[in-house]
């Protein structure tokens, strides 16, 4: 409620000021947006037709007096599906910038790694509901509430992140999305997020520098997997499921640079699930090696192609197989997929035609996302696109979303 009040105040402040305020290092910008996504493969599980339907206002407030900077990005929206009005603090932090170091404290969005919609060393929270519902891509990322310290000695740069407040990934709601559920009869479910404590504080470190013209990074993460595991209270007669977030360490590296007429990206990470190092616990994921090879090339003026190959290799596979419960579909040792991105800009880069697809070689499922975006003026743009899911399996990542195809529209006025 206090946030809502702050928002109304900020909105009033904005309306009373000229379109662009830039006095003494203060600026206010933002947008008004409509975003609607209609299911095209049948109704939602709760009978509704829309995956998303909202109007949204965002205000970005920035005040700086070097070496200090305050940044607040806050949204207010009206959701037609749940019929409510809410506010959301997207980012809000203070930053101190010194010559060789800086620190940023508060809610902030951090993006690491090289993947295009594939994340290995970007262990920060994601919003898959936003991604599958046709929301603007920035809503795929969620902020963390923590502190980031940057250190910039001459030999390399470092980012050290501490996150005391755990934030899980957001997945589509079962009321709006048809999804695979291995134990649909058990409706008593309890999510238990890691408590806020010194011991549970997540730590993420990135060190990066240039090596012979390539951008090289190494990463470390100690925290929790943001996708919960479901643990039944009783194996023989389960009546309740606890959704817990497994302890996770990630060790990774990436390299990106110019090669064979384009940009090559290489990234890898070892996912060490600390509670199941033997691989025999059926309720905790086994440790994995995740890897990515990407290639991006400009084929001609304003036409770019991006290709990626991504794999997840499960360690201790025989232990996994031996202990798997019959309700759960068996995963493969190697799950791999390819992505294709085509982008064509037209009319002085005001019209963008794009196509993105995931296709899993191991699971035979896919997601296709064609989109047309046009900037009517410098302030108004609209995008129309579709999300199409399919595949053979009912339990695979995209195959289970088969009945959730949707077309979406995004219209935004920016100021």
């Amino acid at each position: 409620m206090t946030l809502a009040r702050a928002f109304v105040l900020a909105a009033a402040l904005f309306l009373l000021s000229p379109a662009e305020v830039r006095c003494e290092g203060i600026s206010i910008n933002g947008f008004v947006q409509g975003n609607y996504s209609l299911g095209t493969a049948g109704s939602n599980p709760d009978g509704g037709d829309f995956k998303w339907a909202e109007e949204r206002v965002q205000l970005k407030f920035e005040a700086s007096k070097e070496p200090l900077r305050l940044f607040i990005k806050t949204d207010a929206f009206h959701d037609w599906i749940d019929e409510d009005f809410e506010t959301e603090l997207r980012e809000g932090f203070v930053e101190y910038v010194a010559g060789k170091w800086d620190v940023r404290a508060g809610r902030q969005i951090i993006t690491w790694g090289l993947g295009d919609l594939i994340f290995i060393n970007d262990i920060f929270p994601k919003d898959y509901e936003a991604f599958f519902s046709g929301r603007p891509i920035e809503y795929f990322k969620k902020g963390i509430d923590g502190v980031k310290l940057g250190l910039y000695p001459t030999f390399a740069s470092f980012e050290l992140v501490a996150v005391p407040f755990f934030e899980p990934n957001n997945f589509p709601k079962p009321e709006r999305f048809h999804m695979f559920d291995p134990m649909p009869q058990i409706t008593n479910r309890e999510k238990s997020e890691p408590a806020t404590s010194l011991e549970n504080t997540e730590i993420a470190v990135r060190a990066y520098r240039d090596i012979a013209g390539y951008d090289a990074s190494i990463y470390f993460y100690r925290g929790f997997f943001r996708q919960p595991s479901a643990i039944p209270d009783d194996l023989l007669a389960p009546s309740r499921l606890s959704l817990v977030f497994p302890e996770l360490n990630v060790y990774g590296a990436s390299l990106q640079g110019r090669a064979i007429g384009g940009v090559i990206s290489l990234e890898g990470g070892y996912y060490d699930f600390r509670e199941d190092r033997e691989g025999d616990d059926p309720f905790t994921p086994n440790s994995q090696t995740r890897f990515l090879v990407g290639y991006q090339r400009q084929m001609r003026q304003d036409f770019t192609v991006g290709l990626q190959y991504y794999g997840e290799y499960m360690h201790d596979y025989s232990e996994y197989s031996d202990n798997l419960l019959p309700e759960f579909p068996k995963e493969r040792r190697l799950r791999d997929l390819v992505t294709v991105r085509l982008t064509q800009l037209l009319r002085h880069q005001t019209l963008r035609l794009s196509f993105f697809s995931f296709y899993s070689l191991s699971d035979g499922d896919y997601m296709l996302n064609p989109e047309v975006k046009y900037n009517f003026t410098d302030n108004v743009w609209a995008a129309v696109g579709g999300n199409i899911f399919g595949g053979n399996g009912r339990a695979t990542q995209f195959g289970q979303l088969d009945e959730n195809d949707n077309v979406y529209v995004q219209v935004r006025y920016e100021f």
């Binding site: 290092g25 910008n29 947008f31 700086s64 070097e66 900077r69 930053e95 910038v97 800086d102 902030q108 969005i109 951090i110 993006t111 090289l114 891509i137 920035e138 795929f140 990322k141 940057g150 910039y152 740069s157 990066y208 013209g213 951008d215 990106q256 640079g257 110019r258 007429g261 384009g262 940009v263 990206s265 991006q296 090339r297 400009q298 001609r300 003026q301 304003d302 770019t304 800009l345 002085h348 880069q349 005001t350 900037n375 003026t377 410098d378 302030n379 743009w381 935004r412 920016e414 100021f415």
Partner: protein, 262 residues
Amino acid sequence: MRKFLLFLALILLPLEAYALSGEEVMKKSQAAFFYPGKDFKARIIMELVSKGGQERIREMTMLRMNLGEPGGNQKYFIYFFQPADVKDMTFMVYKYKGRDSDRWLFVPAINMVRRIAAQDKRSSFVGSDFSYEDVSGRNLEDDTYALVKEEKVGGRDCYVVKSTPKSGDVEYSYKLSWVDKGNYLPLKEEYYDKKGELYKVFTADEVRDVEGFPTVTKRTMKNVQSGHRTEVAYIKSDYNIGIEDSLFSERFMKQPTKRWIE
């Protein structure tokens, strides 16, 4: 001996008039247009005007640093103020002599710096009629040159040089440049397409002395075939401000210091 001295005098005297080849003119022009100073900063307003008169504005600050002699490697940094959907976006280029540039883009909405593929130097810069090469210069080795004639442009004596790309992967067949004999700035350039028809015209609309360096502070690139044009104004320019190499970094792309970009 006297004959020799006479001969010497003959070849030395008309130095100004005859000694420059087309290539030498373009080399001096490149140094004057793309390389003056050790570094350079400009606040730039770009107006993209369609045939129907619709205007779009791109406002940015550009920083440039030379890493060696004119014609050599450079680093560029661009911060966008306008339009609203690209505000706070930054763009960085490491330009190398004789090979493809490295380019990076910072997307503020997701706080990510990523490399972008940059093979086509003739690609439009931010949708304007200027290509990346028109902004940061073209390698001299990529063209052959011929000094065609001398002619006045706006009362200034100019060399007229024809530059023909050596390889066919460029969208024009040749370019004519009117290069000011006094300061070697290009005052006008005409691009001819593969059919030999005029299609793009560059004009230097205002030349000013900025801290001792003649600088094109207003320029236009017009596509005469489509009717679309881009007008560029440098509303503030400075040379030799002591830009440090560390500014051309991921850190600075994500959080550019106000005093360097405003």
